[in-house]
Structure formats: C-alpha cells, structure tokens
C-alpha cells in the first residue's frame, strides 16, 4: 500500500533522457554514453548536447524548479514534458504512461487536458482579445466563446485582470500580459503547469508580485508546477524540489535548503555564494532535532521561520537559544551560534566539503 502511495506522489518521471541536436544524433549518442562531454562533442562531431542522461521525478502538487545558467538545457528539458521537442533517447512518464509512445491524438489530448504552459515571452495571440486568449484551451476543444467566457473570466479575475477581457494583448503591460498567460494556463484546468522562465522578462517589482501570485495560487490549487529560472533567489522562493542543470546534465537535485547547505559541486557553490542566506534558510534546516524538554530558551520560534527573522528577534545576541515549534509541538532547538555559522558558506561542516573535493 505504502509503495503505491509513494508512486502516486510522482506526477512526472523522466528516465535516462538524452537530447542531441544535429544531423546524426544516434551516432553522437554513443559517444555521449561513452562519456564524451558537451564541448568535446561539439568540437569533434558538430553536434550539440542538449540533455545528458536526465533522471528527475516531479512530485505531484508541488513546485519543481529547474535552474541553470543560460544554455544549460532548461528550455529543452521542459519542452520534452509535452513533446514540443522529441528526445534522442529516454522515457517520460506522466501519470504512469510513457508519453513517448503516444500518437498524435493522444499527444494533443495530453497537451489540452493534462498540461498547460506559460512562456517567457508570453506568446499570446495578438489577434484575439484577452478573454479569448484566456479561453484558448476550451476554444481548442471547439467550445464557443459564450460557453467558456465565464470560466475564462473567473481566472482573469483571479489573476487580477478584472474587466480587461475585451482588451487586446498589445494594450496591456508586460506584467499584465503574463497574467493573461497564467490565466490561460489555469483556464485549461490541467493538473500540470509548465512555466519556462515565466517571470524573467518582467522588471523586479512586478516579478516579485507575480511570484507571490504564483505562491498564492499554489496554496489554493496545488498544481504540479515545473518552473524554470536562471535566478537562484526565485528558485529558492518557489521551489519545493530543486533541480540544478549544467551543460545538459543534472548536477544536483533535492530539497532547496539541503542543496544550499550541502552544495555538491563547485558550480553550485558559485551559485549559492551570492545568495542572502539569512533570508532563504529556514530554522528547520539548521536546528538541532530534539524533543526532550529544554530549559533556558529565550522563546519559541516556528520551524518555517527564516533565519533573518530569528536574528531580528534575538537582536543579534549570539548567546541565546530558541525552542522550535512545529504545528504547536516542540521539535528542536536552535542555538544562535549555530545559526550564525550557517550564514557563512565556508563554515560548512567539514565532511561534505572533503567528500565534494575528492568526488
């Protein structure tokens, strides 16, 4: 029973996925499987290694963020999930079915019913009104505007575009256009939402707004979101599960806090070194787990509080300790000295450090 349960929790499962761009990908695939890297493949064979043996499980009802620098294969990867790009080798399982075996009709159904997508450059239809854009999914099913208008309007209202239904996309600002993009994805009522750098084209303030909107919607709807970004702050803010790509392969994946505290690779270290750790790290990631009753604590804090808020609470006093509460019950102890150590990347515990250097 338990096994079935845990299997159900995985919505999309990517297995040994390879993508090579070029004239003879199968030959190049052999080379890649024999260990040839991206640069070498490009120089010797003129093929571009897009994805290299990707294995990712996307948990159901959570936000999975795929992060990586430009050219690391993020867009390529997300486009395999609805087969906008065909892989060179590998499998993509959605709800227990290998979508690479789908025929055209099944594939269209997958795209219409199970998945929706939000694009970096919005990709709205310029010749259709905002309402018609939001109602794209039902209109593809052949529904008339009269029929889908209510549903589309509901989601437009939900993303903050009340009364804008009759405008055309070019009459809206970038932020508003992306709201239409999100409403379009929501109107399709699909479980899975693919977002390729959905907020990267927006300016910082609007971007924060949109991130908050997405978090709100997520709390409400619990969709399976696959979100792509090259911005670590955004990734850490949104991610339940974080996948870090580099040159087409997965460098590390897991719980974001864990990755932050235990970077597996100098590449990720670089990534995380610039981050404001106090704002991102949570109490639960640095506390000592203990349930035994504690004396002399300075107060109670929630396990999901950021370290920043704890520092503010302690007013910088490093001698204090706090009791950590989860759902009303004490779960651990946070020592301020430990907290301060966690703020400095190089002060990490020694064993993962040495393991990383040798590996």
């Amino acid at each position: 029973m338990k096994d079935v349960q845990s299997e159900n929790d995985i919505k999309i499962s990517i297995r040994h996925l390879y993508k090579i761009f070029g004239a003879r990908p199968q030959e190049a695939l052999e080379q890649v499987k024999n260990g040839m890297g991206k640069t070498e493949l490009q120089e010797k064979h003129g093929h571009v290694l897009g994805l290299n043996d990707i294995n990712v499980d996307v948990p159901s009802g959570k936000t999975t963020v795929i992060m990586g620098l430009s050219g690391s294969g993020k867009s390529t990867l997300i486009r395999h999930l609805n087969r906008l790009i065909e892989p060179t080798a590998g499998e993509v399982w959605v709800d227990g079915e290998n979508i690479l075996e789908y025929n055209d009709k099944q594939l269209r159904k997958l795209r219409k019913v199970q998945m929706s997508m939000v694009f970096q450059k919005f990709a709205l239809f310029p010749h259709r009104t905002v309402l018609q854009n939001a109602g794209l999914a039902p209109s593809v099913e052949g529904e008339r505007e009269r029929k889908y208008a209510d549903e589309a309007r509901k989601w437009l209202d939900r993303v903050g575009l009340e009364g804008q239904g009759d405008q055309y996309p070019h009459q809206l600002s970038g932020g508003m256009q992306q709201r239409v993009g999100i409403a379009r994805a929501l109107t399709s009522n699909s479980d899975i939402m693919l977002m390729d750098e959905a907020f990267s084209a927006l300016d910082p303030l609007i971007r924060t707004d949109m991130q908050n909107l997405l978090i709100e919607l997520q709390n409400e709807l619990q969709k399976t979101v696959v979100f792509i970004t090259h911005d670590l702050d955004e990734a850490l803010k949104l991610a339940d599960h974080l996948v870090i790509l580099k040159d087409g392969f997965v460098v590390q994946q897991g719980e974001p806090q864990h990755i932050l505290l235990n970077p597996a690779d100098p590449y990720i270290e670089d990534f995380v070194s610039d981050i404001n750790r106090a704002r991102v790290l949570r109490v639960r990631s640095v506390m000592e787990r203990t349930t035994k009753p504690l004396a002399e604590t300075a107060g109670d804090i929630d396990h999901d509080d950021t370290l920043e808020s704890v520092i503010a609470l302690s007013e910088g006093d490093t001698t204090l300790s706090y009791r950590v509460i989860k759902d009303g019950a004490p779960v651990g102890l946070l020592n301020m000295r430990k907290l301060v150590r966690a703020l400095v990347p190089s002060e990490q515990s020694d064993d993962p450090d040495s393991a990383r250097r040798s590996g």
């Binding site: 906008l84 795209r111 929706s116 990709a123 709205l124 239809f125 794209l136």
Partner: protein, 343 residues
Amino acid sequence: MATYDFVFDGLGLRDWCGDAGGGGLSSMADLLSETSGEEATVSAWDTPFPSLDALHEACDKIPQSRELTLGLERGFLDIKDTLKIVVDPITQPLSWALENTLWLMQATPWWIMIPALMLIVYLVGRSFKLVGLVAAAFGFLAFVDYYDYTMQTLAIIFVCAVICVIIGVPVGIAMSRSDKVQRVMIPILDMLQTLPPFVYLIPLIFLFSVTEPKLYGIAIILYAMVPVIRLTDLGIRLVDKDVIEAADAFGMTKRQKLYGVQIPLALPNIMAGVNQTIMMSLAMVVIASLVSAPGLGVLVLRGIRNLELGVGLLSGLGIVLLAIILDRVTKAALARINASQPR
C-alpha cells in the same frame, strides 16, 4: 574552305560529315568566294564563333540554327494536341468566367453599376473620400464614352485577381509548410516574374485560338499570381515562433493553427500581395489586348497603330485612374486589417 574544317579533319570525322564540307555551296561566303575566284582566306580577326552555322559550313551533318528553332516549333506543335486535351478542360471555366463577368458588367446599366461599385468601395475602405474619388473617376470615364472599355478592363482584372488568390494562397501556404516545396517554387516564381510579359503570349497563341478569352486570362494570371504566392509564404513564415509554439503547447491541430493563427496573423502580408497582384493584372491586361483582350488596352493599341494621339493619351489616363482606384481601395482594406491587429 570553311574556318572549322580542321576540327572535323583533325578528329577524323570527315567521312561522317560526307565530303560536302569542301564541295557544296552552302553559304553566301562560299558563293562569293566562288564567284570572285579566290579561296576565302579568313583573317584571325574575323574568325567566327564556332556557332551552329559556322560549323555547318564545315560539316553538313551539323544542323543550322534555323533548324533548331524549327525543331522547337515542330516539337511544340507535336505535343500541342496532347497538351490541349489536358489544358483545355481545366481552363475552360476561366473562359466561361471571363465571358460571363464581361457580359454582366456591361449588361448592368451604368446607374446601377457605378453606385454598386461605390458601395463596395465603401464597405472595403470605410472612407467617403475614397468613394468620392471612385465616383469622380468613373464619372469622368463614362463622360468621355469610355465606360464600356473601363468595365471590360475591370471585369477581366476582377476575374483574374480572384483566381490568382484562389490558387496563389494555397500554393503560398504549401510553400510555407515545406522547405522542399519552397525550394522548387522559388525558381519558378523568379522565372514567371522576370519573363517579359510578351513572352507568355507566344506559347499561348499556339495553344488556344485568339477568340478564346482564356488565352489572355492565363497570361494575366501567370504573370500576376507571383506576388500573392510570395507574400503568403513570407507572411506565414514570419508569424511569431513563440505564438506557434503556444498553439502547439495547447494542443491545436494543424488545421486549427492554420485558420486560427497563421492565416489571421499573415493577413496583412497576404493583402499586400493581393494589392500587388491586382496592380500587375492591370499592367498585363493592357499588354494582353495584343491577343484580343477587350478594354482600355484596345484603345491604347489603336492609338499606337493608327497614330491617334488623343485616343492613346485619354485611354492611358483612364488606365492611370483605374490603377489609382484599385491601389487606394486595396490599401485601404490593408490599413483596416493592420489597424485591427497591431502588434
């Protein structure tokens, strides 16, 4: 002796040529040299290009260029009948459409026709200025008794432009969908566009009798169809890749994409192509009066043939007026499409 005797002697082909090379009087030069009694010695300066005629002088087996053109002509006449069996039925509707439209536009009394045209112009362009221009132009042409000719020209342009669109848009769509089709079509379109209009007429005259309207109809359509094909292809290829990707991501079929996204977004370009197609039909309809196309072109021709300067000038003015009207009206339609979907 001919200049190139040495080639055939050298190659040992003299027997194959027969001995005519030295003997027969095959050219004027030979004849002259014969009468003047001296061997024709050709200086290096005057060495002729080794053309068919020059080689023929040296060897009878080489055909003269006159025979080449004759051969082409004979070859064409040979396949003509088979060609006609195929082409005739296909193009018959064109004759029929032209005849009927010509009849209709001339049979309708002027006091219905001119207001009807004004109404159409209003519906297309939504501009009273344009309607006024049309009324003035047709009024003037009717006043100088060119009404019938104008209607004939208009009828031909109308039929040909409609057929150009009916054929051209699907061809353009096919080109936009497949690089292979595009690679095949582009040289054909280049050829159609660069051939001088008169050249179209030559094979057509052989194929059809001059009394058949489709003779000039085909010439006009072939010439005028190019821009609408090109711009349909271009327009669809220029549609934003991201928008197409979105259409795919939401599960649109190819058909839904074509009618719901690609054609609507390519419409400004397609309309620009239609505008050019109409202007080119007008240019060709004048030339086609050489092969019995009725209309203002006939008057221009009369002006040239009979040196009737006044007729030529006035009908020329009529053509200019028609050109202005057609251009303005289609551009107004284009502007309205653009206004409805700015990017």
